[in-house]
Amino acid sequence: MPTQLLFPENWVDKYSDYLYNYTIVRVNNHEVAQDLISETFLAGLKSSKNFKGEASERTWLISILKRKIIDYYRKSNSKKGKAEVRINYNDEDAEGDWLEERVSDPYDKTAEDEFENEELRMVILECLDTLNKKQAAIFKMKTIDEFDTEAICNEFNITPSNLWVIIHRARKAMMECMEKNWF
């Protein structure tokens, strides 16, 4: 008897944001990331019989996604030359510019920052998981997608004051969760 079960009908709502943020830093392309996630869900559905229930649903989906990402890089590498970076310094006007370009940019994000940001994203997503469904949906729309108050109110059929109450509760829960896990 498996301890964990699969509920593919909930996958998109529950995991697509998480997987999306996981993928985007690895492939650096929105469309590719979206395709990889669709493929992951479909592959998961096909091989759901192989799910032993030892890991959580999400961990299992991530393991499929990882393989998809590796496959994507294999494919793009086999198109020879495409993965190479080509820099052209034949432009006469730009002569000498390359020296300046080689000076390290102090504002450039370092790999460490990027790594920290990814961790932060994952913590935020974990915390969003602790909110109830409606709260999370509204909070995401308002805060991440930056929709207007009016548009969200229409979508959920609520008044602006309802919206602010929901936002306030969501923010409070997020603050508490983030304080435990991040700050």
Binding site: E9, I144, M178
Partner: protein, 82 residues
């Protein structure tokens, strides 16, 4: 409408929430700032709220596009029927 710069805690928290989305007016922000001079709890809350906003901004988090979610859900549903 009486414009008052002295506000209660519940108003202050509301203004603070609005300020996180740049939806608080100038006078609302002034009244919030006056309020948090003497109200320790709201001051603490305001700092935490700002911290959350900054974290969200810095993280550069994205959501899977809504219309893509719908398409994907439909595809999964179709696959499950078969």
């Amino acid at each position: 409408m009486k414009l008052s710069l002295i506000i209660k805690c519940n108003e202050a928290t509301h203004v603070c929430d609005k300020a996180q989305y740049k939806e608080a007016s100038f006078w609302e922000k002034v009244s919030l700032n006056i309020h948090i001079i003497y109200c320790r709890l709201c001051r603490k809350h305001t700092i935490r709220n700002r911290k959350l906003t900054q974290a969200l901004k810095r993280s550069d988090i994205r959501t899977f596009p809504e219309e893509q979610k719908k398409i994907l859900k439909e595809r999964l549903r179709q696959e499950m029927i078969q």
